[in-house]
């Protein structure tokens, strides 16, 4: 069962990897956006959001993710979601997030896709 939201992050070769756990709602979305902004201001424009431990996302949480994607678009950056639960993947697809963001099975796959042709 889903817990309340927590996140961890790391920067690997100029890629920001945000790993979440729990319900991605207003609190969760805000936390992801704040973590992103902190690194975006330092010039990091490649972001991976690992949602392996987040099985439930609401539309408020998604609105923060959309804002991150828009900010990255303005700077030729990119966001890739990884380890998506099928239900979450479907939600993000219906909300149109994959038109502007990528999805990969794992963080390693996402890192490889950043290295390969964009």
């Amino acid at each position: 069962m889903e817990q309340q939201f927590t996140l961890t992050s790391e920067v690997r070769d100029d890629h920001l990897i945000i790993t979440t756990s729990g319900y991605v709602n207003n609190v969760g979305g805000e936390a992801i956006a704040a973590e992103f902004s902190r690194h975006f201001q330092n010039g990091i424009h490649r972001v991976i959001v690992n949602l392996a431990q987040s099985k439930v996302v609401n539309s408020i949480g998604m609105s923060f993710l959309i804002e991150i994607i828009e900010q990255l678009q303005d700077t030729d950056g990119k966001l890739i979601f990884t380890n998506l639960d099928p239900a979450v993947e479907k939600m993000l697809a219906i909300m149109g997030l994959f038109k502007f963001a990528g999805k990969e099975a794992s963080v390693d796959d996402a890192l490889k896709s950043f290295v390969g042709p964009q």
């Binding site: 069962m1 889903e2 817990q3 309340q4 729990g22 319900y23 709602n25 207003n26 609190v27 099985k55 439930v56 996302v57 609401n58 539309s59 408020i60 609105s63 959309i66 828009e70 303005d74 239900a87 479907k90 939600m91 219906i94 909300m95 149109g96």
Partner: protein, 534 residues
């Protein structure tokens, strides 16, 4: 200023205006837009300091969007009222220009520009340019609002599609019978997600006592959630349990909101899906149980088919017939006529308490032990004792067998019999009287002690008949719940009906029972063995 210079300068500013609009059109917020706009203005008026402020349609207070240090709020607040409410008003002072533009949403943008003197006549062109630029701001602002509304509309439409899609998916998922998670947990997660609830709970109470509580997120307890301001709930009752779904605090980007009608509809729909799922699971379990019973019955029927005699052995000087009609697919009745090595015949009728596989297995045990003991020429009383012991050990406490066992010496017509808790057997004498054979003991397997059985002896003369039966015959009931025995006592039937073939007696007996019971379902097995000495 010369005409040519003025034209050149205006042309340059219009060109700059077009470029600036492209830049401004990317702004996502009013503050972004103001920041971009201030940059454009500073580009047009190098060295100028600019303040940009906004004021609501009903507010008197100017709020800074861009602060360039020219006391914009004080200057704008000092303007005469008519200048701050007109569509676009320009107020020039020796140290700068104040422009107030009414925007598309009825708010006001105020710009205060402190510019350095650029020579005589330059002010008019600057003011004209500033008018154009503030219109540009209004147009860019309209564009930004339009884009924002469009984005919100698309987001909202997508969210509606998501809600409908998720409702369908959840219906499918909760109806999966092999789902590991409980359907109420899945429905709660989806309900919280689709309504943007910050938390939720499902409480299952059975006859008023809480039997299950599922919280979402898992680390939120119901005790803390009940204090929340905004909540919606729905419930249903299934199998004497009440399932109550409750959601708390609808989230938004600007704070917590009350839930709306759509949220309630979604919660109701998801709860209904759980209700349907629980009902389907219950019906599925019932169907599986029925299927298992049917399989058991098929196994038991197969066992019994192998035990009951396909035909009875002919006995010289006698005519014998038997019948077994189980009440369900498998009964617990047994009968047989077993030829023995010493020329005698064992006539047996038995009734196991219960039905189905356990009863069939016990009948199977009786058949095996009986055959073994008879083969070993065990005396009848001893045989009954041994059967009691082995059946007692082979069966559960509530299982036992009533049995009537008779050993017939065909040549003399002598019969030795033991009645182990069974209905008495009847011997119809040639003088039309009926003699009961009742000596014996308790039902087999009832008491695990070396219980003393007694046998009795009688002789069947030529023309006399013996009837062994189970209680399914006298206790056969009709629609008025009357018993066959009360309408047609077996002893009387036996006395008055003496066909010259055993088969005919059995056929007539069954016919009488069928006529008596009519459409009433058969409640117990019917078994009979009829022996006629010619």
């Amino acid at each position: 200023m010369q005409q040519g210079d003025l034209t050149d300068r205006l042309s340059a500013q219009i060109e700059s205006l077009q470029g600036s609009f492209r830049k401004l059109s990317k702004a996502a917020t009013l503050k972004d837009l103001a920041g971009q706009f201030a940059g454009v203005v500073r580009g047009m008026f190098p060295g100028a300091d600019v303040d940009l402020l906004v004021r609501g349609s009903r507010s008197e207070r100017w709020e800074y969007l861009v602060e360039g240090g020219v006391q914009g709020a004080e200057r704008l607040s000092a303007l005469p009222p008519e200048q701050s409410t007109s569509l676009c008003r320009v107020h020039e002072t020796p140290t700068g220009v104040c422009i107030v533009q009414k925007l598309v949403d009825a708010s006001f943008i105020g710009m205060v520009l402190a510019r350095k003197p650029q020579g005589p006549g330059a002010g008019e062109v600057d003011v004209l340019s500033l008018r154009l630029f503030i219109h540009l701001f209004d147009t860019a602002y309209q564009d930004m609002l339009y884009r924002r509304n469009e984005k919100e509309l698309i987001f909202s439409l997508n969210h509606r599609v998501l809600q409908l899609n998720s409702l369908i998916d959840t219906g499918i998922e909760v109806s999966k019978l092999d789902h590991n998670a409980s359907p109420q947990q899945l429905a709660l997660e989806r309900a919280a997600s689709l309504t943007n609830a910050s938390k939720g709970v499902v409480r299952v109470t059975h006859k008023g006592v809480l039997s299950e509580e599922i919280c979402f997120p898992a680390d939120v307890s119901f005790k803390t959630a009940v204090d929340e301001r905004y909540r919606i709930m729905t419930s249903f009752v299934f199998a004497d349990s009440t399932y109550a779904f409750e959601l708390f605090e609808k989230e938004s980007r600007t704070g917590v909101l009350p839930f709306d009608e759509t949220d309630q509809l979604l919660l109701d729909a998801l709860a209904r899906q759980v209700h349907a799922s629980l009902e389907n699971r219950y019906l599925h379990e019932q169907a599986l149980e029925k299927q298992k019973i049917e399989q058991d019955m098929a196994v038991a029927a197969s066992i019994q088919q192998r035990i009951l005699p396909a035909s009875l052995p002919p006995i010289a000087g006698y005519d014998i017939a038997g019948i077994n009609i189980p009440s369900k697919s498998v009964g617990g009745d047994y009968y047989d006529c077993i030829p023995l090595p010493d020329g005698k015949y064992a006539l047996v009728v038995a009734d196991v308490a219960g039905k189905g596989v356990p009863a069939a297995l016990l009948v199977s045990s009786l058949h095996a032990y009986l055959s073994a003991y008879l083969e070993g020429a065990t005396p009848l009383v001893r045989l009954a004792q041994r059967l009691n012991t082995v059946i007692c050990r082979a069966s559960t406490d509530e299982k036992f067998i009533t049995a009537f066992i008779a050993l017939l010496s065909p040549e003399t017509g002598e019969i030795e019999s033991v009645n182990a808790g069974h209905n008495p057997a009847y011997v119809r004498r040639n003088d039309n009287t009926v003699h009961e054979l009742n000596e014996g003991g308790v039902a087999l397997g009832m008491l695990d002690i070396d219980f003393p059985f007694q046998s009795e002896f009688t002789v069947m003369e030529k023309g006399e008949r013996l009837l062994l039966y189970t209680d399914g015959i006298p206790e056969a009931t009709n629609e008025r719940q009357q018993m066959f025995e009360s309408a047609t006592p077996l002893k009387e039937l036996l006395a008055r009906h003496k066909p010259d073939q055993a088969e005919i007696f059995i056929k007539d007996l069954i016919g009488d029972i069928k006529r008596f019971t009519g459409n009433e379902p058969q409640s117990d097995d019917i078994t009979a063995l009829y022996l006629l000495r010619r």
